[in-house]
């Protein structure tokens, strides 16, 4: 039996969370007695594909003629690969690609889907996978009752482990049918050369406490020095101080960085839902009663306009030394 890892690519580059997907598949394969095989697409360098072996993939199937992310085609490609390899477990990342492809594949194979998994399957009583529910406020144990199973893992939740090795790369083709969708344009997220928010390990976020859009210069400078992406709270994107794609929270995007620094954000429960998967949370706020402090690991009660420039200097000094 094989465990199939869906490896996503953009413009020929393997996405960051795909390494976690491969590592997860390899661990499940070890436990279930099988091999991890990856399926991917796009114009990817074979050396990059062989390097997936480092995270436990024994074999990588690649279809270089599929270049866009149309979910129906990717689901067909993955189903064909699963059939060829006899894979009963298929692993995705719960990102935009996984969210679009995994449900189609699940319905196609009638394979139970656990989306947003945060741990490895527990097979002591059936096949049970822990997943995020209530927008990060709780977990649920999902039992999958079908022979075939699809798991999509939350990025930055289980991590990845290097085991060493080189994967064997094979061209793979399948009948993907005609698409009824025509892609007319693909626009890369405008991050002004910065780091895309969903890929970022470090995030600096700011809210109404900054008083106006003209005051974001210090946030951007601090984020740049730190190597962080910038984000914001909902009120700030609603009034147009910051672009919508920066809005994190229950109705914006949910992120799980290693470090989330919130400046002038009170920490409404809807905002926390978008960031409570962060490993470490730092809150900077003038109000010591701000609810965000209860969810924070570290806090500074102080005026953002004084604290952020100082912190920026301290980071510069730290980087000069390290």
């Amino acid at each position: 039996m094989a465990v199939l890892a869906f490896v996503d690519t953009q413009e020929g580059k393997i996405s960051k969370s795909s390494y976690e997907v491969v590592s997860y598949a390899a661990k499940v394969a070890d436990k279930e007695g099988g091999e991890a095989v990856a399926i991917t697409y796009g114009d990817v360098d074979n050396g990059d594909l062989e390097a997936l072996g480092k995270y436990g993939a024994k074999k990588v199937l690649v279809n270089k003629s599929v270049t866009n992310m149309l979910p129906t085609k990717l689901a067909k490609l993955t189903a064909a690969a699963a059939e060829q390899e006899g894979a009963d477990i298929i692993v995705f990342a719960q990102d935009f690609t996984g969210k679009s492809v995994a449900p189609i594949l699940s319905a196609k194979l009638k394979a139970g889907l656990v989306s947003g998994a945060v741990d490895y399957p527990d097979t002591s009583d059936g096949f049970v996978v822990k997943k995020n529910v209530f927008s990060g406020k709780a977990f649920a144990m999902y039992k999958v009752n079908t022979e075939k199973k699809v798991i999509s893992i939350l990025p930055n939740s289980v991590g990845k482990e290097e085991v060493g090795g080189t994967a064997q790369v094979e061209e793979f083709s399948a009948d993907l049918g005609d698409s009824r969708i025509t892609v007319t344009n693909v626009e890369k997220a405008n991050t002004d050369g910065g780091i895309p928010l969903t890929e970022a390990d470090l995030v600096v976020s700011a809210g109404r406490g900054l008083k106006g859009p003209e005051n974001w210069g210090m946030i951007e400078e601090f984020a740049k020095n730190l190597g962080a992406a910038t984000a914001c709270s909902r009120p700030v994107s609603d009034v147009g101080w910051r672009p919508h794609h920066e809005h994190v929270g229950q109705t914006g995007i949910a992120i799980r960085p290693n470090l989330y620094i919130a400046v002038g954000i009170s920490g409404a429960i809807q905002h926390l839902a978008g960031v409570n998967g962060s490993k470490v949370i730092v809150v900077i706020n003038t109000d010591p009663e701000a609810p965000f402090f209860k969810a924070a690991d570290y806090g500074i009660v102080g005026d953002a306009f004084e604290v952020v420039p100082k912190l920026n200097k301290a980071i510069e000094a730290f980087q000069a030394e390290n």
Binding site: P103, M141, S179, R180, Q250, Q270, V283, K294, D297, L311
Partner: protein, 246 residues
């Protein structure tokens, strides 16, 4: 355009999540239910806007027992024309998707719109499953939809950016922020909703692929460690040596 919009019940976004019966069930005591925000703000409102611009109808569909009727009335107050309730507990995503797909197939809609996920299960599953069961194109996480006759130009979120695509009706779409703006129902809408048609339909047999066996709350966060604003170097030190994130 004949439009079907999936509407799901969700606990209010400020709900404190608790469980009961040995962590096997969600504790509903004191919980206020709302229409799942992604279903209401984005899918439903965009459907209503399309109808207002070019005629047609907006029907909502919900899988649930009688307790979801107030939620359905809310969607009708926002501006849907009529509603269908499939009379079954929503069991898992595939079960729900099968019910919606079956009804949609029999009634010939130009588009099926849903929110990108519910705020309680965060699955993002039902839309893709409905599309696959109906053999229709699926457009996920759409933030914009313009129509020209039966051709739709849609912008959707993809990994690392946005994709613009063209597709002809019929299709299934999951809606995200940007698609429309929330509409607060007015008194006339609320009054009118009371007399709009809410049809109760028997469920079809459908499999459940998964089940929830138990719930758990995340471990309590320890107390926040406060750093003196006059000594921010200490924070940098803590992030480096203690938290090891920089």
């Amino acid at each position: 355009m004949k439009i079907l919009v999936g509407i799901s019940k969700a606990p209010d976004t400020t709900t404190k999540i608790k469980f009961t019966n040995d962590n096997k069930e969600f504790d509903e005591s004191g919980v206020q239910y709302i229409v799942n925000p992604y279903d209401e703000w984005y899918a439903l409102v965009r459907g209503i806007e399309v109808k207002e611009a070019q005629g047609g109808s907006v029907t909502t569909i919900t899988v649930g027992k009688e307790d979801v009727d107030p939620i359905i009335r809310k969607a009708l107050a926002v501006g849907a024309d009529d509603a269908v309730r499939i009379d079954s507990e929503p069991k898992d995503a595939y079960h729900v998707a099968s019910q919606i797909a079956n009804y949609a197939k029999e009634n010939d809609y130009d588009m099926v719109l849903l929110g990108k996920e519910t705020i309680n299960y965060n699955g993002s599953q039902v839309g893709g499953m409905v599309a696959e069961i109906m053999d229709l194109p699926y457009i996920s996480n759409a933030s914009k939809m313009d129509l020209d006759g039966n051709k739709a130009t849609i912008v959707r979120d993809i990994q690392g950016g946005k994709e613009t695509l063209e597709v002809e009706t019929p299709f299934v779409l999951s809606a995200a922020k940007g698609m429309a703006e929330q509409r607060i129902p007015n008194m006339r809408g609320i009054m009118a909703a009371r007399s709009k048609k809410l049809e109760v339909v028997e469920p079809v047999d459908a499999e459940e692929l998964t089940e929830v066996v138990s719930y758990a709350l995340p471990p309590e966060k320890g107390d926040v460690k406060l750093v003196d604003p006059e000594n921010v170097e200490e924070l940098v030190e803590l992030l480096h040596k203690e938290a090891k994130v920089i």
